[in-house]
């Protein structure tokens, strides 16, 4: 695997906009990558996706904001929003501390998982992608 200083766990799928999709049975947990949280730096506000909303891959479903910048959150897969991480309303810094764990943002019930995953990158490809960005 190519070297990057950012955590890129195996088994997850990654978008070019630096969201991850973690398949958990019939559901997909969604968040932003270690690289994304590091670039945004101190996250102070997360605009959570709307519950039960039907979302499309690559369309904005929320936002992650730091003191300085706002970054759209794009759905890595299409489907319905089943859960959002309410803890982030009071503890947005979880996105920085543990982006792949407690800093998750939403859970989506996918509607076309196979096709959607085919458009995302695996850990190795995403690491190379980061490297290509000079990261």
């Amino acid at each position: 695997m190519s070297e990057t200083k950012f955590q890129v766990p195996d088994g997850l799928y990654y978008s070019k906009d630096h969201e991850y999709a973690k398949v958990e049975g019939s559901r997909v947990r969604v968040g932003i990558t270690d690289y994304a949280q590091e670039s945004l730096h101190d996250v102070v506000y997360v605009e959570l996706p709307q519950l039960q909303k039907e979302v499309k891959q690559s369309v904005s479903i929320g936002a992650v904001e730091s003191v300085k910048a706002a970054s759209d959150l794009f759905a890595p897969v299409s489907g319905k929003v089943l859960e959002v991480n309410k803890r982030l309303e009071d503890e947005p810094e979880l996105v920085n501390k543990d982006p792949y764990g407690e800093g998750w943002i939403a859970v989506i019930e996918p509607s076309g998982l196979k096709e959607d995953l085919a458009k995302l990158m695996d850990a190795q490809k995403y690491s190379e992608y980061l490297k290509g960005l000079g990261k």
């Binding site: 730096h41 101190d42 102070v44 506000y45 605009e47 904005s60 936002a63 904001e65 730091s66 003191v67 300085k68 910048a69 706002a70 759209d72």
Partner: protein, 361 residues
């Protein structure tokens, strides 16, 4: 680290929030060597500055400074600057990094008579020490009594044997100093390191933090200070930017932009710079539309979630008719319209924070 106007600079050392709070509650030091520093000297130096800046240079005694704007022929803002009178015919004009070449060329174009203009930006490292404990900390490393240097005044002194100019000014809303390392024995880089290290060490028990560009921006925004490229630009005049205090139409000498600005003053303003506070969750950002009853009346120029108050605040321009304090507006954030209101800056309690604070640290 980012590239900023040709300088390689950190956006943060620790986090923007930590650095922001250090300046409001204790002290922070900024390396602002990127700022442009033009040395203007000679019998016609004051005349040149009267012509290119909007404030009245004749009001300045030696060892004092003023905030001013440099206007183009249309009365638009080429840059905002500070001018310090070091001696009778000896001035320092400090401009924004991104505008340094433009302002240098503009000042040269306007020069007449016996005046000399030197760009000393790379010879004079520059720092800002800001926060309620700034005086206490800086006093430990300089000669002379800093309490005698009042706001907008300056003094020549020494740090570790090297000559420095300290001015009681800043861009954070807090009390503090800007420190120019003028020295002549060591190289600019050596002097910069010496000054930086001496001040950081002097404040280490008080919680001083080195601060990057991120906190510089968040602090100035919270204080309501404009930033070139956001609130002020060549097509914005100083009256709509609410910088009236820096424009002296009645001063004894004419200046660039005087005629159009006199007209603006007579005609009244179409749009004005305002402060804005969101009343719902979200954060205002540059270029977000501001509307009233579904009709756009302006847009946001800067915004942030205040690390101090947690409030989502910003600045922008709106039609003059809707610029009154307390006017309810909406800010378009992605696909939502978020309730907000016009309010005045600074966006902190002036009894507790800022250089006018009543409760000392």
């Amino acid at each position: 680290m980012i590239e900023y106007a040709g300088w390689h600079m950190p956006v943060w050392y620790k986090t923007i929030s930590d650095e922001h709070l250090a300046v409001r509650n204790a002290a922070g030091i900024f390396d602002i060597s990127h700022m442009g520093r033009l040395h203007i000297t000679g019998p016609d130096a004051a005349n040149l500055l009267q012509k290119v800046t909007s404030n009245d240079i004749s009001l300045l005694n030696p060892l004092a400074g003023q905030y001013s704007v440099v206007c183009n022929e249309n009365g638009g803002i080429k840059d905002d600057v500070t001018t310090f009178k070091q001696g009778q015919e000896d001035f320092l004009l400090v401009c924004n990094a991104a505008n340094r070449d433009k302002i240098l060329a503009w000042v040269k174009t306007n020069a007449a008579g016996n005046v000399r203009i030197d760009d000393l930006t790379e010879q004079i490292p520059m720092f800002a020490l800001q926060g309620p404990l700034a005086q206490r900390i800086l006093q430990r490393v300089v000669e002379g009594d800093l309490s005698l240097v009042k706001r907008w005044k300056c003094a020549f002194t020494k740090i570790q044997g090297e000559s420095v100019l300290v001015t009681r000014t800043g861009y954070t809303g807090e009390d503090g100093f800007e420190i120019y390392s003028m020295g002549n024995t060591a190289s600019p880089t050596q002097r910069a390191l010496k000054t930086w290290t001496a001040i950081l060490n002097a404040g280490k028990n008080e919680g001083i933090l080195p601060c990057g560009l991120g906190a510089r921006d968040s602090l100035r925004l919270e204080a309501g200070y404009p930033l070139y490229g956001n609130e002020i630009e060549e097509d914005v005049n100083p009256f709509e930017a609410k910088l009236d205090f820096a424009v002296k139409l009645e001063k004894p000498a004419s200046f660039n932009g005087k005629e159009p600005l006199t007209k603006v003053k007579g005609d009244g303003l179409k749009r004005v710079r305002v402060g804005i506070k969101l009343l719902e969750r979200g954060s205002p950002r540059k270029d977000y539309p501001i509307s009233v009853d579904g009709e756009q009346i302006g847009k946001v120029t800067s915004g942030l979630l205040s690390p101090l108050t947690g409030e989502a605040v910003g600045m922008g321009y709106v039609d003059a008719a809707h610029s009154g304090e307390g006017v309810r507006v909406e800010v378009g954030i992605r696909d939502r319209n978020v309730k907000a209101e016009i309010r005045k800056w600074p966006f902190y309690d002036e009894k507790r924070y800022g250089f006018r604070r009543e409760i000392a640290k």
